[in-house]
Amino acid sequence: MPRAASAYRKLFQAGFRSQSTYKLAMLAGLSTNTIFGFIRYSILTAAQATATGAFAGYTQGSISAYVWISQGLLGSVPMHANGAEISDRIRSGDVAIDIARPLDLQGATVVTDLGKSAYAFLPRGLPSVLIGALVVGLAMPTSPLGYALGLVSVALGIGTACALRFAVCLLGFWLIETRGFRNLYMVLATFLAGLYLPVPLFPDWLQTIANATPFPTMLQTPIDVISGRTADGAAVSAIAVQACWLLFCVALGRFMLVRGRRRLEVQGG
């Protein structure tokens, strides 16, 4: 068991380093992130100013905190299944070698993704939040407990996204071409997670649909907890909901891996 733990630690570090090597790529991502942040900031603050209703309780400050924290989390919360090595390996059949390895395929893939996410915080997450703080000032938790809960919530959100991303990639066991499906996953996931519009601003029936999926727990919940919109007892129960979705997504990935492995046929000798 300690040896497996050390292997996972090394994979986490490898995921981290695979991103830190390409500094220019990170800078490029940050610039795109910032432009989109400013456009979204313009849209949502303009909408808040002329809102006909309560705008779900958002103020100019809290809606801009929402925009900049979500832009900051975007690099770390993979709500897409593009560029995943595992997809290519399933397609080429190389996944048979991965399955034969003494490490669990699900664990290894998800841990590597977590390493990438952890790195993305430094060049993408922090600068985005800093820009937000400088431009408009952000609403943040007032107590140390708030920050602690916020960090737990962000970690659970990232974990859920990585676990579900793995499950989506495994569809390659059943489908030959997954590009159309992956595009569909990306747009649905980001929309229902509240990337373009916070979930509380959805029409009621759409909120119900969104909350029946794991997507809001990847982005909306962490933002709510870390910005202090959801605090104390409410934050603890939000985190419990997140933990349930994380377990669900891990179990789904596990189930699909077991079934997919049975379908896998590899030619060669």
Binding site: A28, I35, I43, A47, A51, T52, A56, N183, L188, L201
Partner: protein
């Protein structure tokens, strides 16, 4: 005339082969069409859900916003269909396969543009046309020759502008390599900005999207002019007639960047 037709003949053959290639894998093509439909439908849903909370955004009501959304989405999706695949250049550069294009006796840009035609974007265009049509029908528009002229000018210039921006981004790739994502800020960021009323932007951003990456000319200014609405600071609606100037500037920059970039390229060796 005959020589011009002859010059384009190789491109026509390449394009025809690409069209056949896409039709060959019917299942995956249908999935792509559906995926692209969902992208556009989701963008539309965002706007619709936002208007659940507001009556107007930046001085435009729902029907006027449909025009902005529809025209902007149309211009971008047509440009994306025609030249959007230029964003695969970083892959060619990194893999060192761009040299093969240099060796052929055809223009590099011409080959890359005709190397694919993204038919899957047709569904996205469909959503755009539907939104714009509804927007035009729902608004009280005083249809005359000038409005028709403005509409035609807008559609042609919008497509030309985004196509220029794609070439601009492609030219920059020769210098960026690993930083290929830099240009997404102006291509996809530009597309996103073109579908918003510029009046909501803080001044620096408004200047950026009017004079640097002039996407305000794509949908917002023409919509203001057609509806007879006044523009915000720096943006009187008659500016809409100057979209050819914006396109000329974008294409000049695109041409320059492409020229410098292709001269700068040294190849991957091998």
């Amino acid at each position: 005339m005959a020589s011009a037709v002859q010059a384009f003949a190789p491109y026509r053959v390449i394009l025809a082969s690409r069209l056949r290639a896409q039709a060959a894998y019917r299942g995956s093509f249908v999935a792509d069409l559906f995926g692209s439909l969902c992208v556009a439908a989701t963008e539309f849903a965002e706007l619709w859900a936002l208007f659940h909370n507001i009556d107007s955004l930046g001085g435009l009501d729902w029907h006027a916003m449909l025009m902005v959304f529809g025209i902007g989405e149309f211009a971008f999706s047509v440009a994306d269909l025609l030249v959007g695949h230029l964003d695969t250049i970083p892959t060619y550069i990194r893999a060192g396969t761009l040299e093969a294009f240099y060796l052929r006796p055809l223009s590099l840009l011409g080959q890359l543009i005709t190397s694919e035609i993204g038919l899957r974007r047709l569904t996205r265009m469909g959503v755009a046309v539907a939104a714009a049509t509804y927007g035009f029908a729902a608004n009280d528009i005083d249809w005359g020759p000038d409005v028709v002229a403005m509409l035609l000018l807008t559609l042609v210039m919008g497509v030309a502008l985004f196509s220029g921006v794609f070439v601009w981004a492609a030219g920059a790739q020769f210098f960026l390599v690993n930083g290929s994502e830099f240009t997404n800020a102006i291509t996809y960021g530009g597309s996103y900005a073109s579908k918003q009323p510029s009046s909501i932007f803080p001044n620096p951003l408004r200047v950026f999207f009017t004079f640097v990456v002039p996407v305000a000319f794509v949908a917002y200014l023409p919509t203001l002019w057609i509806l007879g609405l006044p523009g915000p600071e720096f943006l009187p609606s008659w500016l809409a007639w100057f979209s050819p100037v914006a396109v000329a500037v974008v294409w000049s920059v695109a041409w320059l960047l492409w020229r410098v970039g292709t001269r700068h390229y040294q190849g991957g060796g091998g």
